[in-house]
Symmetry: C2
Subunit: 191 residues, 2 copies
């Protein structure tokens, strides 16, 4: 998606260790117009796929997922990373190792809101190692829900997540796919 690639080039920041900071428009400060355009693109890509629910994971997936919910006209469910007192009842759970934070979290969604009648589009801001997305797919399968696919804002195609998820037979559509980043700040997109 040209609009997103241009924004990444203009406002993204490459840090040593393969880190791309896009906190000016995607995952700390968010640009609603850009996110709405991205949501329309997800809708175009998955039109006719009978998606009836958007699923994401807190915190930085929530923004892109909300706009997707508006574009698809369906509810948005976000998985929580820790059990809170206010979330009583029964949950679907999966273990997710975060490479960013170096910890393993239990992610959970209420069984009330995900079940066998659902056809789910998973939305997330980044796909790198694929741990979060893999966990979300596991939640869906546990719940008996169908996974229509995954809509990703930015895929780091030089990391193994995309291959891992596609090899599970899940359709992944990424709006920007990064082939490589150089230490001088250069970004090459997949063509």
């Amino acid at each position: 998606m040209q609009l997103l690639e241009r924004r990444i080039r203009e406002d993204g920041e490459v840090l040593p260790g393969g880190i791309l900071k896009v906190d000016g428009f995607l995952n700390h400060q968010m640009d609603p117009e850009l996110l709405m355009e991205m949501a329309r693109e997800f809708h175009r890509l998955f039109a006719g796929d009978k998606v009836n629910k958007i699923l994401t994971i807190e915190a930085s997936g929530i923004g892109p997922a909300c706009f997707a919910g508006l574009a698809f006209g369906c509810p948005v469910l976000f998985a929580k990373k820790n059990r809170t007192r206010n979330l009583s009842g029964e949950f679907w759970t999966a273990e997710v190792h975060s490479f960013t934070h170096g910890v393993t979290n239990t992610i959970m969604v209420s069984k009330k809101y995900l079940g066998s009648g659902d056809r789910v589009l998973i939305i997330d801001d980044f796909l790198a190692n694929g741990a979060a997305l893999n966990g979300l797919i596991t939640l869906c399968l546990e719940a008996g829900a169908e996974v229509a696919g995954a809509g990703i804002c930015i895929e780091k195609a030089f990391q193994p997540g995309g291959e891992l998820i596609r090899s599970r037979g899940v359709r992944v559509e990424s709006l920007a796919r990064i082939e490589s980043m150089s230490d001088d700040g250069g970004i090459a997109f997949c063509r």
Copy 2:
């Protein structure tokens, strides 16, 4: 706001200890149409207030804030609760005690995205003890930003947060104000 009050009556669940669960449409699963209507109401209430930035706190404030960003046509910034490796640089910080989780968090926003040129509308899903909102106001004042006000989805008017924040001279607009909840599930709204 009648639409929200009706939804709370229909789909909200009162638990012992003054807990109101609205995780079917507001803070676990979200209804985009309802949240967009709420955002339009915030925009109506703060029209002419020269708001140029929406500020909220992860995770459950992000949804309502994103729709507000769309209604106001301005960026949405969310405070993070823990320092992550990907957030390098300098931050405005404040301490917030969470009564729900029984812990004190440092909340933080990048100095790059909040400063003296900003006129901020703070959005959050709940106002109860006011700790989170108080911390967000402190962040804004530290940053030299002006606080146009706070837009709250649901205020528990029987808890001290609303009084605390209004006594700081900050305008608070809550779309639903709960006067009392009874153990048999009854909810009375302020009139």
